[in-house]
């Protein structure tokens, strides 16, 4: 994450995503059962993987925050969860479109991955009211980190429970997507996954940089005109020291 400047990272993610989309539309073969709609798989699954991976990253930052009490890690955990929740909305939308096209319904309760993801999404959606409910900045950051760690452990447990809750005779429609994926599809999927991961990292870096810039700006403004109106910042977004964007 530290190796690339923000500009190079942006160029790289745009390039990989363009490559991924070209592969999706011109290289990957049409699915024998589902035809064209199956191509949403290359968007939906990488989005979901990145969102869940982002929650794990947030938990790691949260652990580091609790150990060091450095607000930079809290800011990173916050932005990671923020970005993953946004990705989560996209996952639920693309999932619904895929479900409608291949099963005829917008929502299917007996697909474990769908249900688990919804539960995880709902849990992380409570991250914002949690932060909002705690006045003291330092305590807010600490509690948010505790939440991020607890929720991070919750994610795999939840997937296990929901998966077991499905009767084993239920046919897994996408069994082919798990195992016997042909090489060309696998390659396209890999490129899409890399593209989405890069996109996630880039957006996280942008948000951190913007937060750092805004914090610096309001600090400068306050230095200029005393305790002026510049003090007005978001109440739930963590305060970011100005070096966070580049760190």
């Amino acid at each position: 994450m530290q190796l690339l400047s923000l500009r190079n990272l942006s160029i790289a993610s745009v390039a990989v995503i363009v490559a991924a989309f070209s592969l999706i539309f011109f290289y990957a073969p049409l699915d024998a059962d589902q035809g064209f709609i199956q191509k949403i798989f290359y968007l939906h699954v990488p989005l979901a993987t990145c969102a869940l991976g982002g929650f794990v990253v947030a938990a790691i930052h949260a652990i580091r925050h609790l150990r060091t009490h450095d607000p930079v890690h809290d800011a990173r955990a916050y932005v990671s969860i923020h970005m993953s929740v946004i990705f989560g909305v996209a996952v639920l939308l693309t999932g619904a479109i895929w479900a409608k096209a291949s099963w005829g319904k917008w929502w299917v309760w007996d697909e474990p991955t769908l249900v688990s993801f919804l539960i995880v999404f709902l849990l992380y959606a409570t991250y914002y009211p949690l932060r909002y409910a705690i006045e003291d900045r330092e305590r807010q950051a600490r509690y948010a980190s505790v939440f991020a760690i607890t929720a991070g452990a919750f994610v795999p447990l939840n997937f296990l429970a929901v998966r077991l809750a499905q009767s084993l005779v239920h046919p897994r429609v996408f069994a082919t997507a798990d195992g016997g994926l042909p090489g060309s599809m696998m390659f396209t999927f890999g490129v899409s996954l890399a593209g989405m991961a890069l996109l996630w990292v880039t957006l996280v870096r942008y948000e951190l940089a913007s937060k750092a810039a805004r914090a610096k700006l309001s600090r400068l403004r306050r230095a200029l005109d005393g305790a002026g109106p510049g003090a007005a910042t978001s109440r739930i977004a963590p305060a970011v020291p100005s070096q966070a964007g580049s760190g």
């Binding site: 409570t126 505790v146 760690i149 607890t150 447990l157 939840n158 929901v162 077991l164």
Partner: protein, 222 residues
Amino acid sequence: VSAFRAILAKDLRVELRTLQSLPAMALFALTTFVLFRFGLDRESLSGSLAAGVLLATVLFAAILAVNRLFVAERDEGGFDAMRLAPIDLSALYAAKGVALIVYLGLLELIALPAFALFFLDDAAGILPVAGVLLLADIGLAATGVLVSSIGAHSRARDLIVPLLLLPLLVPVMIAAAGAAEPMLEAGGPSYDGVAKWLGVLGLYDVVFCLIGYAVYDFLLED
């Protein structure tokens, strides 16, 4: 261990003298059963429907107890006293967890017979279901104490607790309902696939007890 015992004894004594949580929980559970009776328009339940009604009622009643768990500490400055005392704060976590398990156990002592009386044609499954509920209570207490401590320091306490707790309890609900379902089958209890669910419940209990133990100190330091 002595701190743990002192806090637990204090909590149970306070509850015994003030009766703040338990009667409310029991009354809430009974009322919810009556609501389900009319909402579902059934006079007897079995299988998954019975398990769902029972578990949903117990979980919602548990939220009342979780909400009230740290009220005394917050209002009377008990948190500061705990921080000042030369004790390991994990003792507070453990004591509050055990107190919550005791409350839930007592609640189930009332709610289970009532449930059997209201809805079950054959009450043979009640005893094994009580065992499942006990496992569920441990997981509930492990997450409940964490969420309750978070809630105690926030402005919208009554809002934050259910909001955080309900999604965290979804695996408990799934596993406990899965285990209770065959036990509440109309033709008498059976135990198909119960072991799998008990395993999930046990795993949840262990994982969240460990996490609670690891992160609890950070919720109290100031």
